[in-house]
């Protein structure tokens, strides 16, 4: 049986091969003898080529038709431009009816003013006002142009020279607004790929500058030198590209958000060890710290050449507006073409520049004003030492006296409510004007909120006694439930 099947299959195969071979039995093409299997192979190759040329199956990509785009556009509902207005958004600050000196008039009543950063008491100074008046009569108010296009007036150049001479640096550059100084200087020097180490308590102007510079930013714990050293160590370990990447440390001399003072001598040591450059914002220490008011470098006895870039806003001690940046000639010249707040904006009004020059002259000629400021701060510290519920969180020499709640309510919103309550009651009942720290939602700083008292050399002893008595009285009653 098996052999019969075998015989039949072999007979069938023979017949197939004969049938195949038969027509081509004697065919010779191009010297190649055509066998049957060659035909099969050629057919197979043809089928393979045919399949390769077929397009692979992808679901077809249909672009949106005009009608579909119309429908999407109609369906889309944008968010409103502003969120709903809550009650605390409606609070308005008090309006001053006279100059913001140590005593000012609010709502027809005379109040003691601890809300203006008028550290040297220069608001209302006769000499400064006279120089402003002559400047106004000569130049008008505005300068009508950016520095590159006929907005450079000779008072600007005089002011820059005066400030450079006062600080002991080779050159300086003027900006037309205090807050724009730091957020124009940082992007001018720090580009993408650079490394910046900044304190976590820097104010919004510095944060904006760091964001605009697009460099890698690493924050260290507020005013903690150990944390700074660890961060610098981590960043420079094993980094062989030191020649190409620029590295900066950004700190403030007197921090607006806490009243602490940066220890410059340790920072300079660390900077020299790890080869970083230092950008120092001296807005609240220029004209305040140091024996002659030259700022943090004089206070610590550090030669000013060791600090690469010093910026300051002039809206505090110098009682004018605008800002400046000083450093070496290379640093200052670079900013004249690449600092956006300098090149693309109108220059400082000339009368404010002449006010700055008069203020610096006054400071150089009357260093006794610094001693009265320091004695006022010491007196205020003594008076506030026993206020219930509040503790002083700033440095003993800082002109911003920062009061924190001893026990927080748990949220900064609740804290702020309590503090605003205290400030409102002090204004209404005791005619003392103080302010709490207000944070924008865009601010990344997470330091605790508090009350800031700006001490001035123009405050008298009775003013300081008044504010400490009033604060003690109001805090006792307001924080009684809270304690």
């Amino acid at each position: 049986m098996a052999s019969a099947v075998m015989n039949m299959t072999t007979a069938a195969l023979d017949w197939v091969s004969v049938a195949f071979d038969a027509p081509l039995a004697r065919a010779v093409v191009f010297g190649v003898h055509i066998d049957g299997h060659l035909v099969v192979e050629v057919l197979l190759v043809a089928v393979i080529l045919f399949q390769l040329t077929r397009k692979s199956y992808k679901p077809p990509k249909k672009p949106l038709t005009e009608k579909e785009i119309d429908d999407l556009c109609e369906e889309w509902v944008p968010e409103p431009l502003h969120p709903s207005i809550s009650e605390d958004m409606k609070a308005e600050p008090p309006t001053l009816e006279s100059a913001a000196g140590p005593h000012t008039i609010i709502d027809g009543k005379e109040v003691v003013n601890f809300a203006s950063a008028n550290y040297l008491g220069l608001i209302g100074n006769e000499k400064i006002i006279d120089s402003c008046v002559s400047s106004l009569e000569k130049y008008g108010v505005g300068s009508c142009g950016p520095r590159g296009f006929y907005g450079t007036i000779d008072v600007h150049l005089d002011c820059e020279e005066r400030i450079a001479k006062f600080m002991g640096t080779p050159d300086s550059i003027l900006y037309s607004y205090g807050i724009s100084t730091i957020f124009s200087v940082i992007p001018a020097f720090c580009k993408k790929g650079d490394i910046i180490v900044a304190d976590e308590g820097v104010h919004w102007g510095v944060q904006n500058g760091l964001h605009l510079s697009r460099s890698t930013v690493v924050y260290f714990k507020h005013n903690d030198m150990k944390s700074l050293e660890n961060t610098l160590e981590k960043l420079t370990r094993g980094n062989k590209q030191a020649e190409k990447i620029r590295r900066y440390i950004v700190v403030e001399a007197v921090y607006q958000n806490s009243g602490q003072i940066a220890p410059l001598d340790e920072i300079v040591q660390l900077k020299e060890k790890y080869h970083f450059r230092v950008i120092l914002d001296e807005s609240h220490s220029f004209g305040v710290l140091g024996n002659s008011g030259r700022g943090l470098a004089e206070y610590y006895g550090v030669p000013v050449e060791k600090i690469d870039i010093i910026t300051a806003g002039m809206g505090n001690a110098l009682a004018t507006d605008g800002g400046f940046c000083t450093g070496s000639v290379r640093v200052v010249d670079h900013q004249r073409l690449s600092s956006s707040g300098y090149v693309f904006s109108a220059s400082l009004p000339p009368f404010l520049a002449s006010a700055a020059v008069s203020a610096v002259n006054y400071l150089e000629g009357n260093p006794s004003v610094l001693t009265s400021l320091r004695s006022n701060i010491a007196l205020l510290w003594k008076g506030l030492s026993d206020v219930p519920g509040l503790t002083i969180g700033s440095h003993p020499l800082s002109p911003i006296v920062f009061l924190k709640l001893k026990k927080s309510t748990g949220s900064s919103k609740g804290d702020l409510e309590l503090l605003n309550n205290i400030a409102d009651r002090m204004l209404k009942e005791d005619s003392v004007f103080i302010v709490s720290t207000k944070r924008s939602v865009l601010d990344k700083c997470r330091l605790p909120v508090g009350i800031r008292l700006f001490v001035s050399a123009g405050h008298s002893e009775s003013d300081i006694r008044k504010v400490s008595d009033s604060l003690r009285r109001v805090a006792t009653t307001t924080l009684a439930e809270h304690l």
């Binding site: 006279s98 809300a115 150049l157 006010a355």
Partner: protein, 488 residues
């Protein structure tokens, strides 16, 4: 629009190429010389402030013509002013000032209504406010920096511009940089004109929103971009955008063109996008009563969501403002960092703006405001038509006080500037990077304080210098044709 002839493009590119080659050669020799000298020990381990080609343009191109920029003046920037003479001992690398000045015609300052110098109505009020409030309040607006003057000016600006409420800032640049992040954040979309000012670009970047650009002044391209973006949504996730803000300017300062506001507003309304109008150059300078581009083009101010402007140009002061609905202003007072952290605007500067607006509105009891507005319109139109008749290529629309004259070639920039200064006319020349590389220009700003004789003198000098330098790219109108036109 600028029509760049081929020959001019070729010669301009050739000039820049030559300057680039020379600069590279000088850099090469500088590197050789520095390599043989030992490097100072102080900078070892520190990367230089600028590496390689980063400041090539500054060192090799800009420094050659440095004397055409940043010219100091010794008087108020009025129609005629004193330009301080400068000299250089090292081929323009450093410039030193002398105590000599030259009286020149001012065709460069932003002094559209002539409030730059001491004004008979404004200056006494400013001096009074200075004596009362001091040059500065030393405090931020939200603490102790709000005085009566600030609230008065905010109400006045809102009334002048035609919006319910307004908010003041101390500097125009900071206004844009700090407001845009407060209005829009991550998940939003900003569509801005391709030629917007640097402050808007900075504000958009600082906000964290996505930024798209549409072709300059083209409502059709804006519509295309809007449709595409709304349909696609956010990149990669395709979620719908939270909100879309379109930012345009009233007068573009480098082109002198007016924005096509009615068409752009129509497109934005159709697609539910918000509009932000930056009127830095147009507020006070255009429009029948000086209220800006909206009045000139007949657009209802309620259709523009946010209007921004500065006081530096037409009001002779400093600072900026935002005008919008009461709720938006209240929200901004609560969140905007420039309001919470920046020193408030100086009180005498505020008083200057108050007095200037009163003069413009005629509330000071005279009609000087109406005269100034009429004069600036006449002056701009007269100057522009005369320049075009002489054969210069002038950009910008009628009624706009800003008129750029095309120069193109890099060598013509210092030639035009220095020749004009020699004949006592001060002009402003602008090159890369404020304008595209091939399109350098001289920009004229007309003021209401220019008299007809001043303008005629300016035209004479510019025509002479234009012949010398060779920038009359178009054929001048022949005097016969001018006669025929006059007779018609």
């Amino acid at each position: 629009m600028v029509r760049l002839p081929y020959l001019t493009a070729l010669t301009t590119l050739f000039s820049y190429g030559l300057l680039f080659a020379f600069g590279q050669m000088r850099d090469f020799f500088r590197r050789l010389i520095d390599w043989s000298k030992s490097k100072s020990k102080d900078l070892k381990g520190y990367a230089p402030i600028c590496l390689g080609l980063e400041d090539f343009y500054t060192r090799r191109l800009y420094l050659r013509i440095q004397d055409c920029f940043s010219r100091p003046i010794a008087s108020a920037p009025d129609a005629w002013f004193d330009v301080v003479d400068r000299y250089s001992n090292d081929n323009n690398k450093t410039l030193h000032r002398t105590s000599n000045t030259t009286k020149c015609l001012n065709l460069g300052s932003y002094n559209y209504l002539g409030f730059a110098a001491a004004d008979e109505y404004c200056t006494p009020h400013v001096i009074d406010s200075l004596k009362k409030y001091s040059p500065s309040t030393c405090s931020v607006r939200v603490d102790g920096g709000t005085t009566n003057l600030h609230t008065e000016l905010e109400e006045l600006v809102a009334r002048f511009v035609g919006k319910p409420a307004a908010l003041l800032f101390g500097m125009g640049y900071v206004t844009n940089s700090a407001i845009i992040p407060a209005l829009i954040g991550k998940g939003g979309l900003i569509i801005s004109d391709s030629l917007n000012h640097n402050s808007i670009v900075n504000g958009a970047r600082g906000s964290g929103a996505a930024v798209r650009v549409f072709q300059h002044n083209s409502p059709s391209h804006l519509e295309e971009v809007l449709r595409e973006q709304i349909a696609e949504g956010q990149p990669r996730t395709h979620r719908p955008w939270k909100k879309i803000i379109v930012i345009v300017e009233g007068i573009y300062s480098m082109e002198g063109e007016l924005c096509k506001l009615p068409e752009i507003i129509a497109v934005c309304k159709k697609y539910k996008a918000y509009t932000y109008l930056d009127e830095a150059h147009s507020i006070g300078a255009v429009g029948k009563s000086g209220r800006g581009v909206c009045e000139l083009l007949g657009v209802d101010t309620a259709d523009v969501d946010i209007m921004m402007g500065t006081f530096t140009k037409s009001f002779g002061s400093c600072g900026g403002y935002i005008a919008a609905s009461k709720e938006i202003i209240q929200f901004l007072k609560y969140t905007c960092p420039a309001h919470l952290y920046a020193t408030s605007i100086s009180p005498p500067a505020v008083q200057q703006v108050i007095s200037a607006i009163k003069v413009i509105l005629g509330e000071d009891g005279s009609n000087r405001g109406a005269q100034k507005l009429a004069r600036i319109r006449e002056n701009s139109n007269f100057f522009r038509s005369e320049l075009q008749k002489m054969g210069f290529e002038v950009l910008g629309d009628n009624d706009s006080p800003v008129m750029p004259i095309m120069l193109y070639n890099p060598a013509k920039i210092p030639a035009f500037s220095r020749e004009c200064l020699r004949q006592n006319v001060a002009v402003v020349t602008v090159a890369f990077p404020a304008t595209p590389l091939l399109l350098a220009r001289a920009r004229i700003c007309i003021s209401a304080s220019h008299s007809r004789e001043d303008l005629v003198k300016g035209l004479e000098v510019i025509s002479k210098v234009g012949d010398l330098v060779g920038i009359k790219y178009f054929p001048a109108e022949s005097p016969k044709l001018a006669e025929q036109k006059k007779n018609l």
